[in-house]
């Protein structure tokens, strides 16, 4: 016979209470299980919270690509493997050194042994190993040697726009140009390109046009060779938006090989250096005098005798020895006339105007290479006189281009930019410096100067070029030298409604046979600009409008070129 279990345990009359307790325990357990089941159902049915774990956000964002205004890739990160060692995990140093040096010829045995003997847990052996080398080393199977993916910044177009792009160091830190801007002052801009949800980066779109950049660098290179100049530089600006379509400074470097950039003379002379721009600055003096109403096109100035101020004598390069009207002063590039106009304006107003157009302050574009202007310590009468024709103070050439653009675009000054921007964005940062009527008068002066002034060789057929030349004597050992010149040309086209501005600079060009011994800007910088403008105008969509004269001349030139090539064949 079976005994009741309760009796066996001796619970007897407390049987009923025990059952209740069991029921209570069961209830509690089922409740707990219910809660767990509910939570599970909740977790699996509800959408997961998309927040990334804390570590993921700290992961370094990659560098954005840099593309030109048409979307062509100018800089990009690609993935490469780098070889590292963990010295304290190495078993046999000798074997490792032997195997590695036998298979990777450019590893130095002594250096490698030193590195592997260090008491460290991590050391780079070779950055950026090629895929075939990577496979080879991987197959050796040395313990404590491994690869880590790294990014390598490549500039597929080589030297093209090198000074705009800048370059990075081996750890992908920007060291110059836009690359430095993206890490430094432009960090906010860089961050705005990132899309955290998809972890992708929009590319940085520059205002540079690869084709125009190439044309500029190419023409400059040819000019430097032809005129045996030391260096050269140039910039092409969109007058309405202040965008830099092309900027070149020669000698340049290949950003894929940053060491080249540290060579002497490879610096960016368009923003990183300051130069006396010479007569190009006369345009500023004219704008000031015309805008303030000090003179008009019919005013005459006595240019018969050199201007004597204190110990200084201001003369003209080609003295006319008579009274000159204002347009004549411009086309003859008369120092005397320009100086007298500035004196009529007065020292204070002259200085204030130069400050208004930004020539007395450091201009800061996106590029970190921004040199401060070199200004005279004291501003006196002689300072105003020399500053009127661009001597005695030095600015970034790009600064000069920006001011010239403002003089011709209707009077609105805007800091040039290397990033693509539209007219609205440009208008938001524009500052009016002269009246639209004054700007119109300056267009006439610029065009007149190409039609019958110092810049006649700039006349690319049909493109209505207008411009001003500048020939500045370089300061050698603290004195102006007659034989060391910095020649420049600033011009715009088409002059009836200027859209693009070109500034060219040649450092110490020499006279060539066809220039009849002259080495002033009109004989080298100007013809170079004409070639450049004729080359880029079709790319920019500027339609040529030939006058009857130009058509005749061009037809004759084409015909003679054709017969020449026929006889050559």
């Amino acid at each position: 016979m079976r005994k009741a279990p309760a009796d066996l345990l001796g619970l007897g009359s407390r049987d009923l209470a025990g059952r209740r307790r069991i029921r209570l325990v069961m209830l509690v357990f089922s409740l707990i299980f219910l809660v767990i089941a509910g939570k599970l159902a909740w977790l699996s049915l509800m959408p997961r919270d998309e927040k990334l774990p804390a570590g993921a956000e700290q992961q370094k964002m990659p560098r954005p690509d840099i593309v030109d205004r048409n979307g062509e890739v100018l800089a990009r990160d690609i993935r490469v493997a780098s070889l590292y060692a963990e010295p304290n995990k190495l078993i046999d140093i000798d074997e490792a050194v032997e195997l590695l040096t036998a298979n990777v010829p450019d590893l130095d045995a002594r250096e490698l042994r030193r590195k592997l003997s260090l008491d460290r847990s991590f050391i780079w052996l070779k950055r950026q190993v090629s895929p075939s080398e990577q496979q080879l080393i991987h197959d050796l199977g040395i313990p404590g040697i491994g690869f880590r993916d790294e990014t390598l910044r490549v500039y597929p177009r080589g030297r093209l726009a090198a000074h705009v792009l800048g370059y990075v160091d081996v750890d992908s830190h920007g060291l110059a140009g836009i690359e430095k801007y993206l890490d430094g002052r432009g960090a906010l801009f860089t961050a705005s390109l990132a899309d955290p949800a998809s972890r992708t980066l929009e590319p940085v779109q520059l205002s540079i046009d690869s084709r125009i950049e190439h044309a500029l660098a190419d023409e400059l290179q040819k000019a430097i060779q032809h005129y045996r100049a030391e260096a050269g530089g140039g910039v092409v600006l969109d007058i309405a938006t202040g965008e830099v379509l092309a900027m070149a400074s020669l000698p340049d470097y290949n950003p894929n090989r940053p060491l080249e950039a540290q060579q002497k003379d490879a610096g960016n002379r368009m923003t990183g250096g300051v130069y006396e721009l010479g007569s190009v600055i006369k345009a500023v003096t004219f704008a000031m005098a015309l805008d303030l109403g000090v003179c008009d096109f019919n005013s005459r100035y006595d240019a018969r005798f050199p201007l004597v101020i204190g110990h200084s004598r201001i003369g003209d390069f080609h003295p006319e020895g008579r009274f000159l009207t204002v347009p004549e002063i411009f086309t003859y590039s008369s120092n005397i006339g320009t100086a007298k106009m500035a004196l009529d304006v007065g020292i204070e107003r002259h200085q204030a105007f130069l400050r208004k157009v930004g020539l007395l302050d450091r201009m800061q574009t996106e590029l970190p290479e921004a040199a401060a202007p070199l200004l005279p310590a004291r501003w006196s009468t002689i300072t105003t006189v020399t500053a009127a024709f661009g001597h005695g103070f030095a600015v970034q050439p790009l600064q000069g281009a920006a001011v010239a653009a403002a003089l011709l675009n209707g009077g609105e000054l805007m800091t040039p930019t290397f990033l693509k921007r539209d007219r609205e964005a440009a208008a938001a940062v524009a500052v009016r410096i002269i009246k639209p009527e004054t700007s119109r008068k300056l267009r006439d002066l610029f065009r007149l100067n190409v039609e019958k002034g110092t810049a006649t060789k700039a006349d690319a057929p049909g493109l209505r070029v207008g411009g001003k030349t500048g020939t500045a004597e370089k300061v050698i050992n603290g004195r102006y030298s007659k034989n060391h010149r910095l020649n420049s040309f600033v011009g715009a086209f088409p002059m009836d409604d200027p859209r693009y501005l070109v500034l060219l600079m040649l450092d110490e060009p020499q006279a060539v046979p066809e220039s009849m011994g002259f080495a002033t800007a009109g004989w080298n910088a100007v013809p170079t600009a004409a070639k450049l403008i004729a080359r880029i105008a079709p790319l920019l969509g500027v339609e040529p409008a030939l006058t009857a004269d130009e058509r005749d001349k061009l037809e004759k030139a084409t015909a003679s070129a054709r017969t020449a090539s026929r006889t050559a064949h």
Binding site: E72, V73, L74, R76, D77, I78, R79, V154, P156, R157, G158, L160, S210, R211, E213, H214, A215, D218, P461, G462, L463, A534, R535, P538, E543, P544, L546, E550, R551, L554, E555, T558
Partner: protein
Amino acid sequence: MLRVLNIILVLTVLAAAFTIYSLEHETRRGERRIAELKRGISDEQEMIRLLEAEWSNLTRPRRIEQLAHQHLELKPLSPLQLVEAKDVDSKLPLRPVAEAPPDHDPIADMLKVLQ
């Protein structure tokens, strides 16, 4: 009664455990596949980026210009070559066009040669 219930419960537990393990196994396999595909995608993307950079390198203006000089007879556009729409009829060069015989179809001939 209770014993039957227990047996059923034990069997259910076994069945559930089996289902869960096979599900988990399948999930693991799926995850591995996802990781594989993701790696494949990222490799492809990296390759695209590399090839785009290569493309940019090959289409750099200096190289295109050299190639054009070597292989094409194209020259920079001269303003003389532009004709305004209103002058088209008077400026078009008049060149006698060889009239094809009426029973001849030049395009069909070309196609024949190609075939």
